[in-house]
Subunit: 131 residues, 10 copies
């Protein structure tokens, strides 16, 4: 698979001294079905507690667009996006949720998390957007 | 009762190394009322944390459609679908929620879970779609 | 007060071996105000984890309709319905929530629970419809 | 400040033997801004687990209306309503939430609770209307 | 960066004796993008448990408006507003959530909290507006 | 059929000099199914351009409640309510719309109008609530 | 194609003397795709101004259910339902609107009308539910 | 009845040369029930095509607030507000719509219009906000 | 520009004898911005009154997907789709509405129609989905 | 007042041969109150039937942003934007609708139109977004 991660840029976390949460709702995503080659459409939610680095928005848009001609299963693509962010940002907490458009009367969502070893969420209120 | 489970196909979980959640919203389901023979309509939600296997979407659609001419009580059909998935996928976690259309001014929902022996959810965030 | 509980019928729980939840949303309920004799309208939600018995839907409809000419306070009627279900079904868990129509600019809801002695909910996910 | 609490009437809790919750959504409330004298508008939510007494609805309406010509800050009025209810009902649990209309592009909500000394909520399900 | 905090005024908490929550939904906020100079738009939610001081609403409006011509990153501005409130009010609990308008198909939210050393939330019900 | 119309009271139209519209949304209505005797539930909308008389609200509530024990087809009851209003108010325009609760997966609405001979609606804007 | 129309029963219009409208929202409909044999799902709206006859609701449910095993194109089935109703009821006005579930990212609606020769709608208000 | 109209101020229409529409949604209105003295609550919509004068917003707020202690029937108050605006603004077109809060399960809306003699709406598009 | 129209297939209109309407809501569409090469996303609504031919759904999906790599202005692409349908189907009436995703805080919609020379819509009810 | 119109750019209408509609929803607009200097916020809808020219989107964004520091009444600013578009595009039809945020409990909308002399809308369907 091509290297998509090189599209992503970062900047220094302006407040590394305490935990806070960034939520990025990506409304526009399209890739191809690996079996039929037909387009798939989805929305992604990337939530993270930054450590040293934050992701830059314009580069995030380019990164997400770079899957446009790729044929990938829903479960695989969601896990890959998690891996790319985890490798790049080394965040304290990271969750990627994909919400694929209905096919054959069925909607598919995939959600996957990563936590920095030993990191503990200070309380339930750190992640306000749970629902 | 006929064997519906043979409609279901699986594929290898691309990330068995860590827990993640797949949610499948099945918008179209119909079976028959076991008492009157009249059609019943419902929506199903299948949520699971895969272990070695994931369920293939097209086969899921055929599986759900195979109940079209079956006469079954709400509680029984929801438990059977749980059993079929549990036997096939042996997932770490599985929940099936049925939402039957209103009859006589009453809507019925049935929710049932299965957990692999000894499996512990790493945290509340693994299952983002609770509500 | 008349005996309403005799309207309720039950059937054998098809899966007594594990906990699961049944939610019954009763959209149509009317009784009388005990003070003015004027009609009151409400919606009820009955949620339970069955033990040996489940409630039969048609009988539930007749049971709820049998309050049509009864004059009862909101708090009393909700507690009575809980008692009738608890006595009949002896469920592992039971919750009755009433949602009465607005009167004088005020909406009233009453929620009451019953748990079988010693029963412990296996986890938060057993009751998916909390909100 | 005038005594508003005398508007409130109570009746005997028909089920003091176990905990249950009453939620009262008061859709219509108006008072005056203590600084400008201009009308303020709000909605209130009163939730409580009754002990010996329940509040009577018609008297609640009169009580809420009695603030119509009073000039009070949002934080003060919400706390006073809590105090009046706590003194009168001596409930096991009480929460008052005010939701004031937008002023200068800002909406203000105030939420305050009272618990009877030593009372413990039997479980999360006692208060179904959290969200 | 200019000193925005001087816009904020406070008044004495009328009920310092117990914890309660104030939620301020600021529907109108605009600043500039630090890279392009183009306008950004957002909504802010400020939630706090007051200690000795509450924030005055009119001054809050002026404070939020004072960022109108400032060029700031989403993460930096949310953290600065938290800092200004924490320094001024010294609240028992404080959370600031920013919800920026969509850019390039992506919505960004930032949420950050502050707790007074040693303060413990009495229970989950103190913060009713979580969702 | 019993005489329901005697429940209705009127008062003098305060502005008979020009056309205007009154819309009454009756959220609570129940009668019986003429075939099964089971309860039916509906919402009614009564819209009229008064001539000499307006209908009094409390009497309207009593009138609508008086059908509680009557067994009537949807089409018949809607036409009867139109007739009762037309005979009593002799309005310039009158429309009654009934919206019955779902039965067997089917919702039924019935709408019927009456116009005073020779009356012409001055323009489309006289009846603002068309949709 | 089999004769579905024999499922439909009628009753005498209780008010043939003036025009009024009946709207029947059929929430549950399923047939088969004529090409793939896979299930299709839809909602139908039948609106008519009765002349001498009205359609009986229980028979309407059976009629709609009788297409369950039929393979038909969207355009054909909607036109056939119109024909069956027109032949049976000979209504003054009739409109059938079908709303088929999404397939391949596309939702299909079909709407078709029939008017009795020479009939004129008295005004726009006869059909209140246009939108 | 007291003179409320003196609260209203006007300013010169900046574009008297062509027709355009101003819509004012007044979210907060309270008066008293003329029979019981209890508070009533409503929302008003004032729409007009100005001729020489426009209404000033702050004065409109004071005008609407001036009914706070007045006891008036729904039909009468809506017609009076129309009269006050018509006398003051002499607009080309004016419509006042009142939407009173539910009482006894019934919501009441009143809508009334005024047109300048001989004025003709250039087309349906002049009033875009009909619904 | 490449020839997209060859993707479209037709079938015989099963009811050419009278007018009826087909509405196709295409939820998934993406092309490229002709200036930046960045992806654009939109929804399309195609409404038509068929004459001799109807469009086949699967071919419609392929046709819409064929713009995936094309760089086109919003106004141009909407007009081209109208032209392709008009040339192929020669419908009695055709309308294409595009709804492009927000860019720079602005959403763009384009709507364009075609009528067969001399065709007259029988009445407003032929096109039920106007809003 | 400064010249804002110079921000607007145009391009050639790709289909001047027939009427079609462009709708531009501008979600982000802020200016100043001419009396208090405080920020106002609004949404604008610009709808037009192009003649020779269309408006370019990026320039539209800059044009709308150029009012950021201007103090203008709602009625005046809406009419000015109409004038600027009419002068530049000379469209066959143009409508500008402004929707200002609530102030003192009142929302204000202003709608104004321009038609090219002698132009006639071919039918109601040319403007699909009426509601």
């Amino acid at each position: 698979m091509p290297d998509h991660a090189h599209y992503l840029d970062t900047f220094e976390n302006p407040q590394p001294g305490h935990d806070y949460t960034v939520r990025l709702q990506i409304q526009e995503f399209t890739c191809l079905c690996p079996l039929t080659g037909q387009p798939d459409f989805a929305r992604f939610l990337v939530e993270y507690v930054p450590d040293r680095l934050c992701v830059e928005l314009k580069s995030l848009k380019l990164y997400m667009s770079s899957f446009r001609d790729e044929g990938l299963f829903h479960e695989a693509i969601t896990n890959q996006i998690l891996s790319d962010f985890a490798a790049l940002l080394k965040p304290r907490f990271l969750r990627v949720t994909a919400d694929f458009n209905i096919r054959g009367g069925i909607c598919t969502q995939v959600a996957v998390e990563h936590r920095k070893e030993g990191w503990q969420c200070a309380g339930p209120v750190v992640l306000p957007g749970e629902t």
